[in-house]
Amino acid sequence: MPKDGGIGAPTRRREDYRFLTGRGRYSDDIKTQGECAAIFARSTVAHGTIKSIDTSAAAAMPGVLAIFTGEDFVEVGGNPAGWLINSRDGEPMKEPKRPVLAHGKVRHVGDAYAAVIAETVQQARDAAEMIEIDIEEHDAVVNMKDALAGTTYVHDEIGTNQCFDWGWIEDNRAATDAAIQGAHHVTTLELVNNRLVPNAMETRCSIGHYDTGTGDYTLHTTSQNPHLTRLLLSAFVMGIPENKLTVIAPDVGGGFGSKIYHYGEEALVLAAAKKLGRTVKWTSDRSEAFQTDAHGRDHVTKIELALDEEGNFLAFRTETHANVGAYLSNFSTATPTFLHGTLMAGNYTVPNVYVNVKAVFTNTAPVDAYRGAGRPEATYSLERVIDMAAREIGMDPIELRRKNFIKPDQYPFASAAGLEYDSGNYDALMDQMEKVADKAGFAARRAESESKGLLRGFGVNAYVEACGIAPSNLVGVLGSRVGLYDAATVRVNATGNLSVMVGAHSHGQGHETVFPQVVAEMLGIDPGSIDIVHGDTSKIPFGMGTYGSRSLAVCGSAVVRATEKIIVKATKIAAHMLEADAADVEFKDGTFSVVGTNQSVSFGEVALKAYIPHQFPIEDIEPGLEETAFYDPANFTYPSGAYCCEVEVDPETGKVRVNRMTAVDDFGNVINPMVVTGQVHGGLGQGIGQALMENTTYDSDGQLLSASYMDYAMPRADDLPFYTVDHSQGTACTHNPLGVKGCGEAGAIGSPPTVVNAVIDALQSGGKNVTHIDMPVTPHRVWSAMKNAG
């Protein structure tokens, strides 16, 4: 049994008290004396040239303090893309400027072309309606294939709608083509990975503050990584020196990717604060969120799987069109490439993989990483085509997967898509899944469903993903413009309690509880004496934030390294106190003792001594007890899993219900199983939502049809079942100190193909010859598919 509050314990979360009693502090909860309000005027058309903007009537409205348009930001920089992708021909990707406010053209519905600052929100909104904009409308570029064929450009200055045409791995292309050419059987599937809106329940909010006395700026904002926002604002957009800008993200109400990025509204409130010498606040409403938060997924893919007579995989070849929307969001170019193409070998020993991705500009909101980011797209393509192949060649889908799995003795395994998997045991996961899901009992459950007139299907899936993002050396080669290490400072206060400053920032993951578990275990002290400090660039050394299931694997490793340094120094102090040689001092359970004696000092005594260094050997040991570590991972981590679910389909209406959902994951070692399970639950909810309900639809004019919860189907409690989650089959990560892999995205990666596979199985069991339905598998789509299958 793990120690309460130590590694492996399901410690209850300390942050819950404030959230449960209404004392959380989210950005919009902050109210500052003398604050004023910003409201954005947003385009109602998808594509057009701005002929003129007349703000005079608006400026004369009561309470109006200032109005900004794109003109005001011509001199400042654009919001950049974080990854440079080169096309197959070696050409760098196209990077049109993403301005703070639209200038010259509006490029999607919701594109902000002006901002009004007024005393109250109501006044700002009234005035924003009075801004007169004259727009010459152009045809909207919406469909990706049309975008590539047409001559209407989202960004005229680049003369194309193609951002890049990327091949991975170009050297494998000929061999992959040859393998497919000569294969015994090839299964081909064209599919859509539906566009999603992340929909964190807290909408974005930014508050700019400028201190007219010192010239310092402060930005409170809903961010998963305040340091990156500061870096982008400083180095690219506003040119504010980093030492004059503090970015604070207080409690963050969910993010799922959408709050990784820097958005123009953040720059605007800072510029306005400076101009007015007032605090300027903007809170997005949900309608704005639908139009302007970075969306996710939106791939159209053709995948081919080549097999030999025995069912061995010979090659995967994919062609994907990836929508990047109207502007490049910060990680938008990494998501369909290095977070997607590199995973296209899946859990398999397949020798040949080739991936082609064309990224396309359209007159839609920017698209970027959303929970899983690229890996759900990869897994969905792979696991759907494998299921289809199994059906075509008449092999059990589990058997076909097992036949091609990488075996436990093959690690480290160099995948055909260019990654080196360090550990895993896919057969063990599959075994466990079959057991906990009671696969054996499925036939009886199917009979039971059929007796009620319902079709029942069983769907499976195996996935491997790359997280713990990411080794800077590797991503640097791949085009990343930043390093992806993380940092932590462990400060032991004189009275023995600790403040741990971490670069990761929780938006629901429970960092305040989990990081102390690690430190408490290492130091043998009460976790209650350890507090986490996060989300404030003025208090933390540096951080690359929370996404890509990286907090524990990367930032947690930095915490371990910093704590190790604390132990080294504290041991020296203890040795001095004990008048012993440091080499003879042992640290265990919070006590330093001289080996072979009964002399000891506690951790608390050492802490006090560090700050009251009377008779200290100051030439050997500095006073104080505080250490910082930056940790850069040696490799990605590779969580994997085997999932299954059972669905019931109503053949009369097409309605699908997920009845049972089982997720067996290998996350390596687990620090807090309660939190890990909760993360999987959340991912499953979103994955089932993607599979069955959620879709972002633009019409051919670029109007967003699914623009509110009236038309964008969010999963609710009665759409979802209880889940079975198991992480008993972990294989420790071999290259980070905790042996952890990351659990935040798995559920959203593993579940969509599982659900769709189950629906197809159900329909086939009912004699309907349906082989594929695109997500979301809505009742209407199921009904149509059944009807078309005859």
Partner: protein
Amino acid sequence: MYAFDIECPTSVADAVTALQAEEAQPLSGGQTLIPTLKQRLAAPSTLVSLTKIPEMQGIEASGGTVRIGGAVTHATVAASVGQAYPALADLASRIGDPAVRNRGTIGGSLANNDPSACYPAAALGSGATIITNTREIAADDYFQGMFVTALEEGEIVTGVSFPVPEKANYQKFIQPASRFPLVAVFVAKYGDGVRVAVTGASNEGVFRWAEAEQALSANFSADAVSGLQVDDSNLIADLHGSADYRAHLIKVMTGRAVTAAA
């Protein structure tokens, strides 16, 4: 929202007077109106609240009729008419969500006549009488198309009177985002025939499915409708379902309602 005042009269007469003001608009439970106001799709000068008027509260069941005050909430209907008119209570218990049911009112729903609302199906399916401050209107005359009713400017739905059928049932197939009906069917069997009202499906708002009524009046079983076809030429086609899908669902939901009622 634009700026406006709210008045809370305590009698129908005062409400009627208040509604005569320029750009005055009635406010019932507000569960549809307030989101509309947030989008700035309406700019009233005054909202006249109808929820503090005692005359518009109360439910009476007698002589085969259930009469419900216009300002009675869905939650109250759900909790109160289970004995007198179970299908109506069941319908009310599934409108929106619990918090919406605690505010939304039957009068507000009928006055708004959203093409996907539940109550219009019950009112039309029951052949109810809509009672206003000036007159009584038969449901068949009251619903005149999407968001259109027989109400005059300033006229208030003060109550609704439902004749209680021998059997009735409401089957709702929800639109998964809004949770409003994608298609819902209210079937009620009276001594003199069967009424079938469909909501969610038509560009004309709630409507009666005459062929089904005829068939069911002759033979009250799901089989009676299985051979019928719904004309889909005026049905809604949107993100959530095509017209022919809605036509299909009308048939399925009608059959299920009959089976559940029978």
